[in-house]
Symmetry: C2
Subunit: 435 residues, 2 copies
């Protein structure tokens, strides 16, 4: 049995097959060697945590599972009839195939915007965003021209979902608290952070009351929110939104997502975001041996497609594994039933919103719940401890420890991320780095 993708869905499926022992043989294929805890990725982008704190080698996650093997490789194509997965490191025959390749950003047909407005799906993108943000402050400190300094200190976040809110809140905090003592010539609180949302409110998937509370918390951090505003153009000078042009050195993209292109190889319907429409048991029509999970899957829950969240992915991974084990035992499969534990988003220091069924929380209590849940789900004891310590330290000292500009030349002159038409896990990665 082959699992493609070492994210939440793929690893949950692989781990749920552990009790089957030698009766199954699981191979997890990923083009990365590590599992990434994406819910905390924005903290890497905002210089709060290090890449290694939120990731773990897939081999280490599965090291005690004797019926699982890990293989580095990028999935290229699927031969459904022959039941063979083709990767760039060889062909893998399967009896069951579990696809959990995730999603990448979608620029709604404007892929030319990507170099100027990177998304946040991979560690490379996170360190690239960190580099851009910290470099903008450094260059503003050197800049004599007032207009250009204003441009360097203007940050635009496109998309008012949880990621956009987290990024905007962290940028507000970074400029007001963390960096305020670091710079002598500029006043980092002169920073402008603009959060642009197409719909009528931020956090549209949350209760309107919590959206309102989040918006007010963002505004207290100095974030300007533009709702009902569509971005019509992005280039190296900034953003055009509605009738307005905002000159900004840093633009971050947290708007649309698009599923891995590998789904196209399946010959079944895809939804508008490229997600594979799956049957109630999470397999695809005509091929009960092929499952599609997580961000790559379009699965219905109470009539609406499920969102791309870690709990959905993990529950689907376990459900797919249960259905495979049901086949092996000769009993009937069960349709996937999502148990909605609720959702949460953090805005900044001691500010978050959370909802679970009828319960709605905001402020400090929601933030503590957010911290607790994220530490709890982080894989690996070492990572948990390190993240916990860094959070305590940041909370007490208003600091961020990972303020590193690495890898690239620090000049902002040229965009350094370009789109990559990849196969497999399909996260956009820096394809070309200019010296």
């Amino acid at each position: 049995m082959v699992v493609v993708g070492g994210g939440f869905a793929g690893l949950a499926a692989a781990r749920a097959l552990a009790p089957a022992g030698d009766t199954v043989e699981v191979t997890v294929v990923d083009r990365r060697n590590h599992h990434l805890f994406q819910p905390l990725l924005y903290q890497v982008a905002m210089a709060g945590l290090s890449p290694a704190d939120i990731s773990m080698p897939i081999r280490a996650v599965l090291e005690r599972q004797r019926n699982a093997a890990v293989r580095l490789g990028e999935a290229r194509d699927i031969d459904l009839d022959a039941r063979v997965l083709h990767t760039d490191t060889g062909a893998l025959p399967y009896d069951y195939l579990v696809l959990a390749c995730g999603a990448t950003h979608s620029y709604f047909g404007h892929d030319a915007w990507e170099p100027f407005a990177p998304g946040l799906k991979t560690l490379e993108q996170a360190t690239e965003i960190r580099r851009r943000v910290l470099t903008a402050f450094e260059l503003a400190e050197l800049e004599g021209d007032r207009e250009r300094r204003r441009e360097l200190l203007t940050f635009v976040v496109v998309g008012g979902g949880p990621t956009g809110v987290e990024l905007a809140g962290a940028l507000g905090e970074l400029s007001r608290h963390t960096l305020s003592r670091d710079f002598r010539r500029i006043d980092p609180s002169g920073t402008r952070v603009i959060l642009i949302e197409g719909g009528p409110r931020v956090l549209p998937s949350f209760d309107p009351e919590l959206s309102h509370s989040a918006a007010r918390a963002l505004e207290r951090l100095g974030v300007t929110i533009w709702t009902e505003t569509r971005v019509t153009h992005i280039d190296e000078h900034g953003v055009r939104a509605g009738d307005e042009t905002v000159r900004a050195a840093t633009v971050l993209w947290a708007a649309g997502v698009r599923a891995s292109p590998l789904g196209r190889a399946l010959g079944v319907p895809l939804d508008g975001a490229g997600r594979v429409v799956v049957e109630p048991d999470l397999s695809i029509a005509g091929h009960p041996e092929v499952f599609v999970l997580g961000d790559q899957a379009h699965a219905l829950h109470e009539g609406a497609p499920l969102p791309g969240l870690a709990p959905v992915a993990m529950q689907q991974g376990r459900a797919a594994a249960r259905n495979i084990l049901a086949d092996l035992r000769g009993v009937a499969r069960e349709p996937f039933a999502y148990f909605d534990k609720g959702s949460m988003a953090t805005i900044g220091r001691a500010r978050a919103v959370a909802q679970s069924h009828r319960l709605k929380l905001d402020g400090l209590i929601a933030w503590l719940a957010w911290c607790f849940v994220h530490i709890l789900y982080l894989v690996g004891f070492r990572n948990r401890l390190l993240v916990f310590i860094q959070w305590i330290w940041s909370y007490l000292r208003y600091r961020r420890g990972a303020r590193l500009i690495t890898q690239h030349d620090w000049r902002l002159a040229e965009p350094t991320i370009t789109a990559r038409a990849g196969a497999s896990e399909a996260d956009a990665k820096p394809a070309q780095v200019q010296p």
Copy 2:
């Protein structure tokens, strides 16, 4: 007053000028935004620590020093007569200039070797080495051909000084302990680690007894030591050393160093490694207002030039600051006197050697001393705590937490680091990354 370089020497000089208060104005210029604790850089390369654990923003180091400012910029040239430092972010007039630009690797005229045998001076090089080493194991796991697998699992370290010994020991440990549970198909203890040294023994700057002890400890970790052996060629297939050709996918360079090329702008004699020959007070002949420190300086101690060590750099930084303050008070300068506290090198888990005057230590006690000294000198409470916790965890669990392959494509096919004829801090950095 302008300080070029935020390493040990530059920061020590800047900090030692704090008591002078408003009578001096210090500007620290660096093309990086962070100070790097180089003695632990090999642990980043060997997946034990994260880049942010051993680095700290220069702004944060100096945040409370009111007479110091930090400026991102790469030094390009010096106009000694006009007393102006030219950087790519503008010209800086100075009354005193402190140059502490450090050193980079020297391939003894064979710069073509660099892509195949990266050195270890920057965070980018450390994460690149980490990527190469971890990728070699991943590809070996996939490889069917026995010869090619052997090549992938052969690691050559060129240079038997402290860095070479630390890298070789960590590679031995990584393959025997850390990764042994991670791989199913290969046996990581089949790894070959070869340490090549041109002289008659490893750690030539140490007492022969300690060299012997270090060599035995390395051999217990599975490292093969070739002394009196000169490398005559390096390419993508491996190393030619003496008459022998070793096919190896990973070659690491820890042999020669060369000082920053900025020294050439001074018009005073340089030594064979490009270091600026300084006067006893650490200034240069004919220009008492220009000091050269640390790895960039050729300063004599008991008739021999001082080695490129952190204690030398820190003591020189403080001495230069004292001499500047002496000028301001109108008293005579003092010649620099190095106080040799001793030196140490670590070989692996619970193994190190240390010497201080007549005291010689090896084994566990030397290792504990090494840990203590390195934690003590690491800048920043947060970094100290995080490194300490990760060491304890690694010690108890034989693990390395930062086993991440990032940034580059994971294929080993093409070399990804090329030489860069930089000015200023002169650390070789990845100039071009191929997708």
